[in-house]
Point group: D2
């Protein structure tokens, strides 16, 4: 019996770097969590411990930090930062044939002081984390933008009924429920000549606008509408993927206390939760290739 090394990748994960732009007034900043995963001619490291072709994970961290100084314009957006880094690793480091850069970006807002925006004081915005994931291989690049922890809720305009009945089905149908989810989404850009900041704001606005306005018969239907709207509004988006937990809000039975509860008081439950995942694809976009491929199946 023989054993073979299959797909492998490595790099420094979660380099937490903050870049301040202080040559301008007011100051600006970007706040990133950058992870690097490299694949290539790395079998010797595994088989014999020969590290001659091993770019240290420490060096990948140094590269992230140095790029923040060397390429200040690319660093302003997570997609362009990811492109710069991924191309560097594949083009400049001999054994590397594929690089994936995953970026989390934490948005900040400017604080007020004495009635005006302050030039160098900020608060972390919260509300969501912006993400980007870039892969480069064989001279081709895939860029994916995304969001996580964007929690949205509708107090009405959501129904759920008419579903399949079988032995284990006991759920009561409803014509009016709270629908809430914490959106995790990624979308693939088929055009790399994109204004990443504008594209991102537009995608997020379309996504939430579509959620707000949709009269929902199922969370799946709302998800599909959100993705469809994003693709319709932005020609550079070729595919949208969602992973949306159905954050259940159960109407509490107050009748033991002599109280009615016409959808006013809800228990926000933790677990279990429905988990709805799906892909919406632009017909002419072609195959997404490595766009959404995490490399290792976790």
């Amino acid at each position: 019996m023989g054993v073979t090394l299959g797909h492998n990748q490595y790099g420094k994960a979660e380099t937490r770097v903050v870049r301040v732009y202080r040559d301008s007034d007011p100051h600006e900043l970007v706040d990133y969590n950058v992870s690097v995963a490299l694949s290539g001619d790395f079998a010797d490291i595994h088989l014999t411990g020969d590290n001659a072709k091993c770019l240290t994970t420490d060096a990948t961290k140094n590269t992230v930090n140095a790029f923040c100084k060397e390429y200040p314009d690319a660093v302003r957006q997570p997609e362009s930062l990811g492109l710069a880094l991924a191309r560097h690793f594949v083009e400049d480091v001999e054994p590397v044939s594929r690089a994936r850069i995953t970026v989390e970006m934490y948005p900040w807002v400017r604080l007020n002081h004495a009635g005006s925006p302050h030039p160098h004081a900020f608060a972390r915005r919260g509300g969501y984390v912006r993400t980007a994931s870039v892969a480069v291989e064989n001279g081709r690049a895939w860029v994916v933008s995304g969001v996580r922890d964007l929690t949205v809720l509708k107090t009405t305009d959501s129904e759920f009924w008419g579903y399949l009945q079988e032995r284990y089905t006991t759920l009561q149908p409803t014509r009016d429920r709270i629908m809430a989810t914490s959106v995790r989404s990624q979308w693939w850009h088929t055009d790399l000549d994109t204004d990443w900041a504008k594209s991102y704001e537009a995608a997020l606005a379309t996504m939430t606008d579509s959620f707000a306005g949709h009269h929902s018969l199922a969370l799946q239907q709302t998800m599909y509408a959100m993705g469809g709207a994003m693709i319709a509004a932005q020609p550079e988006i070729g595919e949208v993927r969602f992973s949306m937990p159905n954050k259940h809000h159960f109407v509490i039975d107050l009748s033991p206390f002599g109280l009615d509860n016409p959808n006013e008081v809800f228990h926000a439950d933790d677990r279990p939760y429905g988990l709805i995942e799906g892909t919406i694809h632009r017909d002419d976009a072609g195959d997404p290739g490595l766009a959404f491929d995490p490399g290792q199946g976790w």
Copy 2:
């Protein structure tokens, strides 16, 4: 040798309740995590397992939920919700002599749709959690408002030098550093006849305005300025307490790569962190009594 039961308290913790106001247009909602801790004539439960005086934790949860229907006005603010609940437990449940209600409130913002605010779609705001803590005993009530996870940062206007030197001191002084913290604060109201919503917005605005405008020689100094400003601006605030981690942002040495780094690229470190805690008291406010007492010393 004998053994005595000392301070004890119990109740249901972390009841996650969402209250929707749907009789108005547009809909409104409040989103709470409510914890109840009761003290009183409960020795028998501990000593013999006689539960005759035990209000079940399940009943305290039911009470939270039912109050959301019964007292819709009180429920709109965490302070008034806490007051209503704490007074109920002490006044209406015979064995209870002290009640503490701790509330976390998760702010939401209205989503836009087709260019206008939507009447019943929301996004969780993030950025901070609003808190309230209310204690009632012997006919007296203490109300504390608070915030946690409010992360603020200044890119300049922060110095740190001139400190004590001893054997283990190696830190280099600086005239310009990033100062960042995740504010956890609580403030005690000496006047219960307060508009909680307005008071809260004012306190948060003063706190962040003060942080933004302060030229800092030490995080302690900034903390003291923040608390002092809050007390100066709002006569109903008798004491402010802070727990502020110094979220270190270290300037990265890029010289090995031939790059200078004039406070532009920082490593946002996780641990360890400085932890600065302090109390700012209005001279004429009297003793805060149970205001900040968690009951059990954890």
Copy 3:
């Protein structure tokens, strides 16, 4: 421009079920977190909100719970629980063509009382979480066992030197370092007629024995040795995958205090960390198919 629904899946995630075997003396228990993901003829739900073919996520939760009563033997191991559930959904629920069941299992140990193991008191063991992931489609089943949060450390027998040098490489080589990681691993069984309990204990023992005994020149090399040993020891294992953070322990420079530090005092750092991922495949095992495919690329 048209839009197409691509891969999609849904189900109840994180059903937290505890099954007590109390008809025996002493009692036994299993503690699970079960997630269900179904794919199949579900386009109508997305496109029109027609739920006629929608098995509710609530029903999938009910199924998990009911199976714990109906199939007590299958429920004793996460792999056989996953197989029973996945086969049920595909075979008994018309629109379902693929089911993936993901299980986390929390091990418990029996407590002592008066010098003997107690028949019905337990402590959660900690140390690691056991996992299983089962997929069924087209009459075929894939079973994967796994572990996460298994933190292991060697105080010596780990070197790292001789690596690639380029512009961003500043790391100093070492002939003696701490090597620590939190093992996340999954392994695919090519034989479903397996004693899951014995197989699991054997795999974990081989994995940790191999880690302990390996003189490491790189974490990749140790990872490969671990996977290779597991495959060599157990013919039912066709492929092993790892995701192993290099939990850095940095030697602290105590020379400013006049102290040497010959690898005795270390800073256990949080972030960033090296992340080493790899696949070790038995040559005659064939393609793992859906074994490691999460369905949706997150």
Copy 4:
């Protein structure tokens, strides 16, 4: 109106230090998370930003690290490490009048290799975190040992009935339920001349033995029995405090599926949970003083 600085404290929190004892064979290690909080003559820092009396938090971190080299024997137990550090800060650093050292200790177990314990390979044990908290002021020291995240469960021998009935009470009484909790406990030593390792093992054994053997009518009763047994067994323990969430395991109603469920299948719920907190005091132990005082009321 005037404003006064009240209680304040500061220091470096969460210094993550690992100490390897490698001059012996086999190797040994301790793994700590150490937090320092100092009080004293620090008003100037707050009022004017004058840091002349400010021991930097960085220096407190350095002190923790250096002590791991300088005092290898004291470092072997968290209580003696805390004592050494707290005494140093109060006695050797002029402005410091009170020091509190809080330590988390993560237990490790030795791995096996080739059938024998390996001399320098370990796995993190999990199951619980050991804690210690030491305060020093005015020449007196208080030492508290503790545990957190010790999750224990009984599948029977737990009843709950006969409780108070009022408007919001709907819970059904039970003569047989699962009782589970995640123990957080701290106990104060009135004798500092204690073998900390032996004392700790004894306390944990008594605590879990007592939990296992107790026939419970209320979680409060079991808690009181646990604390009483600890004090009875160890004369150096003067007071025990507990914070114990009632981790609810609800019997699932399987009757809709034609199945009975005689306490076999349970839903392990997340929130809300009962939270039971209490103090058990040895009558002749005197006042615990600063033993459990966190300094700042969070």
